[in-house]
Amino acid sequence: MSFRIIVLAKQVPDTRNVGKDAMKADGTVNRGALEAIFNPEDLHALEQALLIKEERKDAEVILLTMGPPRAAEIIREALYRGADKGYLITDRKFAGSDTLATSYVLSMAVKKLAPFHLVIAGRQAIDGDTAQVGPQVAEKLALPQVTYTEKFTEIKDEEVTIRRRLERGVETVSTPLPALVTVHSSAAQCRPRNARLLMKFKHARTISELQEETKDYTEMLNNKPYLQIDEWGVSDIDAGEEQLGLSGSPTKVKKIENVVFAAKESIVLSSEDNDIDRLMKELIDSHVVG
């Protein structure tokens, strides 16, 4: 049996680089205009898996992502860097899932890939910054969890030793396998794409992507079955519909307010009472303070 590592990853809008073209006329962000990227800490997670693969010849790295059809892009990115296989979990019924519903879906998909040794995910995704999905998947799978991983210091068949980066220090822990581990941004950066793997996997496609292609992939896929990226929907992972999407999400968004970034034109105020009063009111109303 191989030493199976499942990496959980997410495609996210690049909220760190909100450029001019992503701003709407009213100063709010046009989310559609942001570039879709491999969530940064999930890349750190992938690197940890690839490092283990270098150390253990029997290791197998599988990338699992849940998202819209275009999220297959990050599966290819993972294949280019050394992952062995990827699965895209996609279904319209997943829309509106909060962290709890998301972790339910991911946990059901991970179960399909059992037996496995490690599930590795980034600590958090930059679009929500919640850091909740990792621990929640661990709970759903009844696995021990080790969060904020910086380095695997020892890998054995049935146990790993991990250095964790805490807010104010470091901690070294051991956990029996299987376990779920989340990876901190202080861990090693992910390696770049490998040219040979890029050539090998550049035609890797999901079924949805093949339907959009004008080129005929039939022969290529027959000769190179590894180019087929598996796509799973609700029924493939035996998920209960009441536990996904909006109905499976206990949190509801009541209101969204856009933070308005005004062009830098200073408002000049005096030290008079009414000016300062007005300023403090504005800061409180816009949640800058308070």
Partner: protein
């Protein structure tokens, strides 16, 4: 029985600051809802810990004291918290958004199958009507947080599931003693009976914790002073404003060189780079060496008596005048408008 609950974290034998801040908030929410404030401390050698906690207005304190509970590991703490929630069924449960809280709260929420909102910056009680079902909900917890890299502010609610869970970062809420003489009741959690061996798969082999350091980088609000502040005494005003707003004090190199502030507070090219939500530059002219370290702040307020100071060009608001005059007014009107 549907009370407000706060998980109190222990940090070097004391209750963590963030927990005391949450207790302060929890007391206010409990008063508003007309319910009680409950809290739990889980750890080891906790004798007398209630003396630290009662003054913040805790009515019932649950204590689990066992050698195996410190230092923190996920499963035993999660098990005890879930067990307690099943018994006391809290309406609201608050955790610090710390290494511990962000590890523990999601595990608990998943087990309870209830909603959790991370890193809330504001918690308010309000009603809700579901547009689809027409169902009305009274007195929900509005969990307000920035999302999408700070580009939006979302108000999240958990209409159906309990407890309504949220985490809050240190320094976001104010910390205030409710009543020095307040006494609650102490309830012992029988940890020895509840903890089974299978809850300890993760073993801590080594731990290096650093002393608490000033970390202005992490602060969402920075009140920073330059040479123009004029004296160490005037710098005290900046401390006051920072404390009231829940922020940290920063300084320019000139202010550090003049001995007004410690080096670890220095912002700029030779200090730290910060990107807070709000940067208040007091008596800072705005030399590029300084602005390099703070120009990406979401909002900048410059207080300066020179209308031509370069800092005004990158500021969202420039207040022209003396800081001795302006800062006390900012404190006064902040307090007035948040009441």
């Amino acid at each position: 029985m549907h009370n407000i609950f706060v998980y109190c974290e222990i940090d070097e034998g004391q209750v963590a600051d963030v927990s005391l801040e949450l207790l302060t908030k929890g007391r206010k929410l409990a008063n508003e809802l007309g319910c009680k404030l409950e809290a739990a401390v889980i750890g080891h050698n906790l004798k007398g810990i209630e003396k630290e906690i009662y003054p913040y207005g805790v009515d019932t304190l649950h204590v689990a004291d066992d050698k195996r509970l410190a230092p923190y590991t996920t499963l035993p703490h999660a098990h005890l918290v879930v067990n307690l929630f099943e018994k006391i069924k809290p309406e609201v449960a608050l955790f610090g958004a710390t290494s511990v809280g962000r590890d523990l709260a999601p595990r608990v929420a998943s087990k309870m199958r209830c909603g959790l909102t991370a890193d809330c910056t504001s918690l308010v009680i309000g009603d809700h009507k579901d547009n689809k079902s027409g169902k009305e909900y009274k007195s929900l917890l509005y969990q307000i947080r920035p999302a999408f890299g700070g580009n939006i502010i979302a108000t999240i609610i958990n209409p159906e599931t309990r407890p309504q869970m949220a985490t809050v970062r240190e320094g976001v809420m104010k910390r205030e003693i409710f009543d020095k003489t307040h006494k609650g009741s102490l309830k012992t959690i029988k940890a020895a009976d509840l903890l089974t061996d299978d809850l300890f798969p993760v073993q801590i082999l080594e731990r290096h914790m650093e002393k608490k350091k000033i970390n202005i980088k992490a602060s969402p609000i920075i009140v920073s002073g330059g040479y123009g502040v004029g004296s160490k005494e005037n710098f005290e005003l900046l401390n006051e404003l920072a404390e009231v707003l829940g922020g940290e004090v920063g300084a320019s190199r000139a202010a550090v060189d003049a001995g007004y502030a410690d080096h670890e507070r220095q912002v700029g090219q030779t200090g730290v780079t910060v990107r807070p939500k709000l940067y208040i530059a007091c008596g800072i002219s705005g030399a590029v060496q300084h602005t390099a370290g703070m120009s990406e702040s979401a909002k900048i307020i410059a207080i300066n008596n020179d209308p031509g100071a370069p800092i005004n060009q990158i500021a969202d608001y420039s207040i022209i005048g003396n800081i001795e005059d302006i800062i006390p007014k900012m404190i006064k009107f902040y307090k007035k408008n948040t009441k």
